[in-house]
Symmetry: C2
Subunit: 342 residues, 2 copies
């Protein structure tokens, strides 16, 4: 039986995540029969290379989804809310990287290493979690299954690529300006990011937490399917171009040794244990760029509490934190459709 | 009665902290009758400006402490262990910024906002705590007095100036090299620090924590005089020139609202509450450089536990984290001596 091939649309094709989605589709040889690249009016007509093909960017509008099987969307919440229902109406399944549908009870929120089965229950839209949640839950899942996580204290070191291409450019421009003692602009990040750290990503709610931080609370519970998990988040932007780092401290119901935790983490597909601190081996952002794997290290007992464990987790936020995870969800759908066909 | 004036020696006078000590002595108009600048052979003969005086750096050797009243030392543990007993023998009181004597039961470990009275019990040496501990305990003290802290989870964002002048230069050189796509050296920090974060400061012990991290555990208990306080530390170097930031999450025995915590923190001398996140007001390293104050903000309830509170604390590690705290200890001694004389 012939393997199914798809018409795939990438919405937000010229953004930082959109470009990465194209790379990952190509690298993973996703069976793309036809590629439709969609963006706002500003980018229409741009030519984008995909493998050996050259594809012209079209306007993102409802009729552009005619005949599309799978939409990979990364164009912001507003665009997703406006256009994805139109795509679904035309028969497409949408994998959305925005926050628009993540907490919608009718939309599965999927990390393929954690809850792939949830993807199959979709009603047209599947949500891709936030970057900082994805890399954390890949590590939490096996530990939760083994010892039941009660509480998580997570503190992030998030790279500027999380704010897209403009976020990357702002760090580069500010760095060069500062080294040359010239003035610079602050537009994308909440404050100057060059040689600084900024304890604000997103906007603050009335409870003192940003929306970025609340994603770590709510998305973690939804993906792990356990609303009892308590999460204390602090999200911070750091002057790193690519790759988010997270310090994660957990408390579990049952004891869990660092040795056992390392075993469990090493067994997760897509996760690599980098944990020999005496030899200066631990995950760092410079080691994860352009990689699909989630790196985990510095796994150690937290002596400040009974059944405490601390670790450090790093991933390329544009890859596993966004593009790779979305393409992996498409691969889950593809495997399911092929199996159903067989 | 005439105010007493002192012969003050600065040991490690040409280092990053030593230079800052001179600035702070001058700014605070500490009653310096005579200034003795001591360093290793490499720096002997250098001329250093102090207020309107020009002072020549001398060799750090036992006899150099003859006639010295107060030694401010910042020359590393080895030098302190070798020379400070010689200074004490000659009648000086030493305020040591190295880790050599911090956990010695016979040596008080002092943060003047927290335990100034401990300084008066010295036997010749008073230890200045580690930078990351100082800024944290200034914030913890009033909260502990009010609600009794049981546990602290602290995650740091430490600037390169914590590794001295060479640490600063390495970030600058690596940044310029990377922007020009040229090769660079990694000598001072455990790994490349430019556009990266490094989860290692100091050296690892067998328990999975670095000595830098264990300082946050042990020094906090000693300064607050409460060995029951549990601390889970993660110390991380970030590409920031000056100013350490810390995400601190505490659990208290009694309830403590963010409003009450802010009141208590605002009442601490030397601490400034910068906490209006909706107006983008929170502490950042770029706001603390060359300042003596500890900045605290993002004070909020930690909803993941009963009696939980989270906050964010920033200070210039060369100032309050080192030089300022040492000079403040000298001021405590001066006030005591003047009071005793009166």
């Amino acid at each position: 039986m012939q393997r199914r091939r798809y018409t795939v649309a990438v919405l937000g094709a010229t953004g930082a995540v959109g470009r990465e989605m194209l790379k990952v589709l190509d690298e993973r040889r996703f069976p793309v029969e036809k590629l439709v690249l969609l963006a706002s009016a500003r980018s229409v007509g741009e030519k984008v290379t995909f493998g050996k093909r050259e594809v012209v960017v079209q306007l993102a509008e409802p009729d552009a989804f005619e005949g599309v099987d799978i939409v990979l969307a990364s164009a912001g919440s507003g665009v997703s809310k406006q256009l994805l229902p139109e795509a679904v109406k035309r028969g497409a399944v949408c994998i959305d990287n925005s926050s628009a549908y993540r907490m919608d009870d009718n939309v599965p929120l999927v990390v393929p290493e954690v809850n792939p089965e949830a993807a199959l229950g979709h009603k047209g839209i599947i949500a891709n979690p936030n970057c900082s949640t994805i890399q954390m839950v890949v590590a939490l899942k096996p530990l939760h299954d083994e010892a039941k996580i009660r509480r998580v204290v997570v503190t992030t070191y998030q790279s500027v690529s999380g704010a897209g291409q403009k976020g990357i450019e702002e760090l580069a421009e500010q760095t060069v300006s500062l080294l040359n003692q010239k003035p610079f602009d602050v537009k994308v990040h909440a404050a100057r990011i060059a040689f600084n750290v900024v304890p604000q990503i997103g906007t603050f709610g009335d409870n003192g937490y940003t929306d970025e931080e609340m994603k770590l609370v709510n998305e973690t519970r939804k993906i792990l399917g356990d609303p009892s998990i308590a999460v204390c988040p602090t999200a911070v932007r750091v002057p790193v171009f690519a790759g988010h780092s997270e310090s994660v401290v957990i408390e579990t119901e049952r004891p869990l040794s660092p040795e056992r935790a390392r075993e469990l983490l090493a067994a997760v597909p897509g996760m690599v244990v980098v944990d020999d601190p005496h030899a200066k081996k631990y995950p760092m952002p410079i080691d994860c760029a352009e990689q699909d794997e989630v790196l985990v290290g510095r796994v150690r007992r937290d002596f400040s509490v009974e059944n405490g464990l601390a670790f450090w987790v790093v991933a390329d936020n544009l890859r596993k934190g966004a593009a790779t995870n979305a393409v992996q969800i498409a691969q889950v759908l593809d495997a399911h459709w092929n199996a159903a066909q067989a």
